[in-house]
């Protein structure tokens, strides 16, 4: 279980997180929705220790990971996998090297075993025969799949998804939604996704949390989101430019 307690973060004068409180249950997929630039990605990066908060705590199984440094942080990160918005594949490496990097760095497994694991992970995300290709030759959807294979290579307990469907066509986006659900069911992982794709959020989530002006203002199941009277949540999920949330 991950508990985020009163998390604050500013960049210069810009208050991005202004007292975020959120609990993420084990084995569930929790999706954080909100506007672009609303601090969703920053919140995600706090959970894996890429960004340090100004104040507040993030408890993972009761331990405050914002205090972690060096070895402890390395150990913590091995329990996580993260899929980046732009996939963030290493463009100097082949697909096989990208997916196998964590295994080669952190385990002493023999080379043929690593290749076996890499192939298995690539198959799990629906890719075959691209092992020796460089990322530049792949389409956006294939890059996401490779990014996901890399994220699950070390069998993480948690997967973080940063805008998993952004920039993909609706069919490819749904294929990624399906993969996220499949990861949860087959690998039994806890997932946290941030997105502004409300269709995707409804499909993949056990619970949806909405971030607005640096705070979580609503948490509920997809059904609860669909039936809520909260005007801010309604405006966001219906995608209206007029209302409490200002478009500009």
């Amino acid at each position: 279980m991950i508990e985020i307690v009163d998390l604050h973060k500013s960049f210069g004068d810009n208050k991005v997180l202004d007292g975020v409180n959120l609990t993420i249950n084990k084995g569930e997929t929790t999706t954080i929705i909100g506007r672009s630039g609303g601090g969703k990605s920053v919140l995600l990066k706090h959970i894996i220790g890429l960004v340090k908060p100004d104040s507040g705590r993030i408890l993972i199984d009761g331990e405050d990971i914002t205090l972690y440094k060096n070895e402890k942080l390395v150990k913590l990160r091995q329990r996580f996998g993260m899929l980046f918005q732009s996939s963030a594949l290493f463009d100097s490496m082949t697909v096989e090297e990208n997916v196998g990097l964590g295994l080669r760095e952190h385990t002493k497994l023999p080379e043929d075993e690593i290749r076996g694991i890499v192939n298995e992970k690539l198959r799990l995300v629906g890719l075959r025969g691209v092992e020796d290709v460089k990322p530049a030759e792949l389409s956006g959807g294939m890059k996401k799949r490779v990014g996901l294979a890399r994220a699950i290579a070390m069998n993480p307990e948690y997967i973080l998804y940063d805008e998993p469907t952004t920039g993909l066509d609706p069919i490819m986006a749904d294929a990624i939604n399906y993969l996220i659900i499949r990861m949860k069911n087959e690998l039994n992982v806890t997932s946290i996704a941030v997105t502004h794709d409300i269709v995707s959020a409804y499909k993949i989530s056990n619970r949806i949390a909405m971030i607005y002006e640096g705070k979580i203002i609503f948490v509920g199941t997809p059904e609860e989101v669909k039936s809520t009277d909260d005007p801010i949540v309604r405006q966001f999920v219906e995608g209206k430019a007029t209302g409490i949330i200002k478009a500009v």
Partner: protein, 258 residues
């Protein structure tokens, strides 16, 4: 307007000290990561090839002309005042102490410093550095240390080549155009040759290599804002390391020869 100027100077000064502090923190991180150098040593070998071997043709080309022009210029200055048997002495000293290390470093700063900043800067803005960290791989260990070690080892080796080629270039020009015999030139070269001069030049190269790699990595890591940001970092890496090379050259010279 007065306040505008004050706040402009203030923000520039703040930026300067932030950078000095940032580079110091980076250097400390490099030192703390040195014990793990031989894990992933293939990355260091790759960088040594890129920084050292691949720079060699350019360095040789530049050095031939450096030697040639110093021979021509020295002969012109000596004309009617200093005997030409000192031509080899003057050219040898100038090349080994000053021209070899500084010109090699400036050329490498342009070629390698820019490439380091552009590569790491692109990795930064495309979240590849973040991705390394989420895989629990320290970017200092994985990206910076290999470049730093290659910089401080390859620069002295490049300078050795540069010294040799420049003196050969000077010799050829002396024989063909200045009418000084090879024997005269070489005996002049040997007359006041001190091994300590050569080591001073190589020590400079070692420091310059460290400057190029560190500034390149630092500028790469602090890149923000897409393609434009990468361009800015690349320019800054070349300009700042070139200036620092000249400043360091003076400081080292005043300690060793002052």
């Amino acid at each position: 307007m007065g306040m505008g100027l004050v706040s402009y100077i203030g923000s520039k000064a703040l930026g300067f000290f932030t950078d000095v502090g940032g580079v110091a923190i980076l250097l400390k991180a490099i030192v703390f990561n040195l014990p793990r150098l031989f894990k992933n040593f293939h990355l260091t070998v790759e960088q040594m090839v890129f920084i050292g071997v691949n720079s060699l043709p350019l360095i040789i080309f530049v050095s031939i002309f450096t030697g040639a022009v110093s021979s021509v210029q020295a002969a012109y200055q000596f004309h009617n005042y200093v005997p030409m048997r000192y031509l080899g002495t003057a050219v040898g000293k100038a090349v080994v102490i000053e021209l070899g290390p500084v010109l090699t470093a400036l050329v490498v700063a342009g070629r390698v410093g820019a490439a380091i900043a552009a590569e790491l800067g692109t990795m930064k803005v495309t979240e590849q550095i973040d991705a390394l960290e989420t895989l629990a791989i320290d970017p200092i260990h994985y990206l910076v240390v290999p470049r730093f070690i290659s910089g401080i080892t390859m620069l002295p080796i490049l300078v050795l080549f540069s010294d040799l080629v420049a003196i050969l270039g000077a010799l050829v020009v002396a024989v063909v155009f200045v009418d000084v015999s090879a024997h005269t030139f070489l005996s002049g070269l040997k007359m006041f040759f001190h091994l300590s001069d050569l080591f001073a030049g190589l020590f400079k190269a070692f420091i310059f290599g460290g400057i190029i790699a560190t500034i390149g990595c630092y500028q790469g890591f602090k890149t923000t804002g897409g393609a434009e940001g990468v361009g800015t970092s690349t320019t800054k890496a070349v300009v700042i390391s070139s200036v620092l090379i000249l400043v360091a050259d003076y400081v080292i010279a005043s300690f060793l020869f002052g």
